[in-house]
């Protein structure tokens, strides 16, 4: 008997080992195949040019074309602008990589030597720079009769640079510098011949002339909701866009006694730097529907954007410019929320980089639209002290225990006493199931949460926006990943269920106090 058992055991062991060895060999071959198949994309052999539009788009506004030499033609002006921008771009890249690449196309012989010397010294010191310029205001001084030379002043160029030593970010600086430029037309390229720093001219534009008081008053009395349509969460402006559904939802929201909604503009969805005008039309439709239902709209920009890299700043600026200019006159617009929970990117992207980007974006939006307040949707009351001097009102999110809320809010209040503070996101998922080991709140728990929370909010007179109207059948992977214990609860934050029936908490949320 024992012998038989032993035999079976041996057999099993041999078979299992055999299978295991085979599996190993196959997986080994597999990974070798994968390794051999990876590498450069085949199209890279074609050396296709990346169109300049996609990588570097600072704002360029010619102040004046008057000059004693020759009238400037639109065509030539375009070429000069293009090559001048290219000159800045290749230079920014050269300083980033400490590489001469591209310099000779946009700088004449004697000018490029200066750049090369500088790059060599940076290489020696092991320093490199991430630089970008944000705006150019060139003014023509002279354009020669034969059309081969141009001299202009580039006033008040806003430059931003990060200085690195090895891997470490040493220093960041924002500067405004003016240049005197001479460019020559050589074999089809406009090349920089002379570049000289000159004094800035006094900036006479008055940015302080903003009219946001009425909006700020509205924010103090804000009672709102974060809105996504039931069937297209995190994709309001996608394929499923239906303004009738949105209009119906807005009717419900208005009936609940709320006065504001928060919607999200996704960076890629809206066409990145080349804003997608079809999407902007949809955005306008949403704003129209909101206006019809007496709702104000807080627009969150740059959703799903997380790069913040200096090299891409100009692209995000053009994106913001297109969207802000398109809807800044709309009566339903309440304000601009620049970014949802940027503090969560601090670890991955570096706090300096994120804050630098936000700071510049605040300046931009305030310039583009002086009449709407600007905020940032921080993920916690503790993070909300960041840039509190720059924003017009402070927004934060709170998903922790109700009991600690008052204390956290008061602490923020003491640190930032002078600006309205909006609880921009809060809520409770009614998911209680396998994936959270039956530890979450159920629908009654959600009701209790809101009862308690609303009480504090009314008592303290804190403007609020809860999360959200509907339970969602599907949540995109990009929101909370694909792990069920992370994403499951995202489905159940609504006060209406997936088919639109009120959940218990709706009772509290549809009877908003102080309704208008």
């Amino acid at each position: 008997m024992a012998v038989k058992l032993n035999k079976t055991l041996y057999r099993t062991i041999i078979i299992v080992t055999f299978v295991a060895i085979n599996a190993l060999i196959i997986s080994g071959i597999g990974s070798a195949m994968v390794f051999l198949n990876t590498g450069a994309d085949r199209t890279s052999m074609l050396h296709l040019e990346v169109p300049m539009d996609e990588v570097y788009r600072p704002k360029v506004e010619w102040v004046s074309l008057e000059n004693p030499g020759r009238p400037m033609e639109q065509q030539t002006l375009g070429e000069i602008t293009n090559d001048y921008m290219n000159a800045w771009h290749v230079r920014n890249i050269a300083f980033k990589k400490n590489d001469y690449y591209g310099i000779e196309d946009f700088y004449t012989d004697s000018a490029r030597v200066r750049l090369y010397e500088n790059i060599n010294l940076n290489l020696q010191n092991n320093n490199w720079y991430k630089r970008t310029t944000l705006n150019h205001n060139p003014e023509i001084d002279f354009y020669s009769t034969d059309g081969t030379m141009v001299v202009f002043k580039d006033h008040n160029v806003t430059e931003y640079q990060e200085i690195y030593s090895g891997e470490d970010l040493l220093f960041t600086e924002r500067d405004t510098i003016s240049y005197h430029v001479m460019m020559l037309l050589e074999d089809g390229f406009w090349r920089i011949r002379h570049l000289k720093e000159i004094e800035n001219i006094k900036d006479t534009t008055n940015y302080s002339n903003r009219d946001i008081t009425s909006k700020i008053e509205k924010i103090k009395n804000l009672k709102g909701i974060n809105y996504y349509p039931k069937d297209s969460p995190w994709d309001t402006f996608g394929k499923h866009f239906n303004d009738t559904i949105i209009d119906q939802d807005f009717k419900i929201i208005h009936k609940m006694g709320l006065n504001t909604i928060r919607i999200f503009i996704q960076y890629e969805d809206f066409g990145k730097s080349m804003a997608n005008y079809k999407k902007i039309e949809l955005l306008k439709k949403v704003l129209d529907a909101a206006e019809k239902n007496n709702l104000d709209v807080l627009i969150t920009l740059f959703d799903f954007y997380g790069d913040y890299d200096v090299s891409n700043w100009t692209l995000t600026h053009r994106h913001a410019e297109a969207i802000v200019n398109a809807v800044k006159e709309h009566p339903a617009l309440l304000g601009w929320d620049l970014k949802n929970e940027p503090d969560l990117d601090f670890d991955a992207r570096g706090k300096h980089r994120v804050l630098g980007w936000l700071e510049q974006m605040i300046i931009n939006i305030k310039q583009l639209d002086p009449n709407h307040p600007v905020t940032i949707g921080w993920s916690s009351p503790e993070a909300a002290v960041e840039l509190s001097d720059d924003v017009d009102f402070v927004s934060y999110h709170y998903y922790r225990a109700v009991g600690d809320f008052k204390q956290a809010h008061d602490k923020l209040k003491s640190l930032v006493p002078n600006k309205p503070k909006l609880l921009q996101e809060y809520g409770m998922s009614s998911y209680k199931g396998l994936w959270n080991l039956y530890r979450g709140a159920d629908e009654q728990g959600q009701l209790a949460y809101y009862e308690e929370m609303q009480n504090i909010l009314y008592k303290e007179n804190i403007p609020f926006m809860f999360w959200t109207l509907y339970d969602f059948k599907s949540v995109p992977k990009s929101v909370a990943g694909s792990l069920p214990w992370k994403t499951k609860k995202q489905h159940f934050f609504g006060c209406l269920d997936t088919i639109g029936n009120p959940k218990p908490a709706f009772k509290v949320l549809s009877n908003i106090k102080g309704r208008q």
Binding site: L121, N122, N125, Y129, F171, D175
Partner: protein, 410 residues
């Protein structure tokens, strides 16, 4: 078992917990600038000296000019912090900004102004264009002078540049001042064609000689004449057209090679043309005599500029008549010999055309041929033209003949 689970849990929790880094609090360093000088000449050695209440390797000087930025490492000399600017910064005129930094904090900042070093000499780049202009009062070439110092810095504003121009006997001197990195001067075209030489002088340095060519202005109207050896329309001789000297409004002879088009209109309002180019203002063009009597009206044009008078030329017919012989069942036609005005055979290549019509007057076919040694031959192949009665119309040298023949066999 529970213990194991607890340990696992603790390990897991440790793995998940995030590191919290306390930013090291540093006492801000107080630094002050010792170097007082802020104005330099390009090429001067520049040292910025600071004192600070604390010494730290992290203190660095960040310098920036129009062409780039550089981070200078900490260097200590006798309790002072000394930064020596590299030559590519000291040799670049303009503003040079500096910042004394430590750990992303700016301790001090300032700028130095570097002016061009003109004492060591001046280099000059000149740009002159367009290099050809037309005589008269409207056109000009522009001379742009960009003087630089030895380090390739543009000289300061209002630096004097002397420009000399020479045309024929006249040499003139003009003084202009640099502004916007360069100086410029418009060399206006004289009324006479020729060459204008230009040179520039700045701080004792002279430029190369630069030239612009003054071309004559647009031509004015001119006269033409026709020259021929006889006036027979023999299709052989050449008729020559010749103009007088074509000049512009200032009396300059037009440039050699000016293209002149002679338009010829005949009595049937059909057009012919021939072209010629001028040499020393005179244009000659040629064309063949017509083969049939004709009345020509000729006028010459210089496109977009001017035209000539119109002249008339008439050609007499050179050939009085010709014979046609039919043979081989009337399928073979021998036309000629064609004889010219002195009974000589016409030159080869006179066009002979035969139109064939059916007996009912329907057009069938056209055959063309040319003469060789005064005669031409047409054979009407039976494969294409069956036996029958046809009407033939033969035309050569403007003489038309109509014959009705029966074709039979071959």
């Amino acid at each position: 078992m529970y213990k194991k689970l607890i340990i696992l849990y603790i390990l897991f929790a440790l793995g998940c917990s995030s590191k919290k880094e306390e930013a090291p609090r540093t006492v801000p360093i107080k630094a002050s600038l010792v170097t007082q000088k802020t104005n330099y000449k390009a090429g001067d050695s520049i040292r910025l000296v600071f004192t600070a209440d604390q010494q730290s390797e992290n203190i660095k000087l960040h310098i920036k000019n129009a062409f780039g930025t550089l981070l200078l490492p900490y260097q200590k000399q006798n309790d002072q912090i000394v930064f020596t600017l590299p030559t590519n910064f000291t040799r670049k005129a303009g503003l040079c900004f500096w910042k004394l930094i430590q750990e992303n904090e700016t301790l001090l900042k300032g700028n130095i102004d570097i002016i061009p070093m003109t004492e060591k000499g001046t280099n000059m780049e000149t740009y002159f264009g367009p290099r050809s202009i037309t005589a008269g009062d409207n056109d000009y070439s522009m001379l742009v002078i960009a003087p630089t110092d030895v380090y390739d810095n543009t000289v300061s504003n209002s630096t004097e540049v002397t420009i000399k121009t020479q045309f024929l006997e006249k040499i003139s001197d003009i003084k202009v001042a640099t502004n916007n990195l360069m100086a410029w001067y418009n060399v206006r075209s004289p009324r006479k064609s020729g060459r204008v030489l230009v040179t520039a002088l700045c701080n004792g340095t002279t430029s190369n000689e630069l030239t612009t060519i003054v071309f004559p202005a647009n031509s004015t109207d001119f006269k033409i004449d026709a020259i021929m050896d006889h006036d027979f329309a023999d299709g052989n001789q050449i008729i020559k057209f010749k103009s007088d000297k074509i000049k512009d409004e200032f009396g300059n002879v037009v440039s050699d090679g000016t293209l002149v088009t002679f338009m010829i209109k005949n009595q049937k309002d059909a057009y012919l043309y021939t072209v010629g180019t001028t040499i020393d203002g005179v244009v000659e063009a040629r064309t063949l005599h017509p083969a049939a009597a004709a009345e020509w009206n000729i006028q010459a044009y210089i496109t977009g500029a001017s035209k000539s008078n119109a002249i008339n030329v008439s050609f007499k017919t050179a050939i009085a008549d010709y014979e046609i012989y039919f043979s081989k069942g009337n399928r073979n036609l021998d036309i000629g010999p064609l004889k010219s005005f002195m009974k000589q055979l016409v030159p080869d290549g006179i066009l002979v055309q035969l139109d064939i019509y059916s007996s009912t007057g329907e057009f069938i076919e056209t055959k063309k041929t040319t003469t060789k040694k005064g005669v031409s031959n047409i054979f009407l192949s039976p494969e294409y033209l069956p036996d029958g009665t046809y009407k033939f119309i033969i035309e050569a040298v403007g003489i038309k003949k109509e014959i009705i023949k029966e074709i039979n066999g071959g």
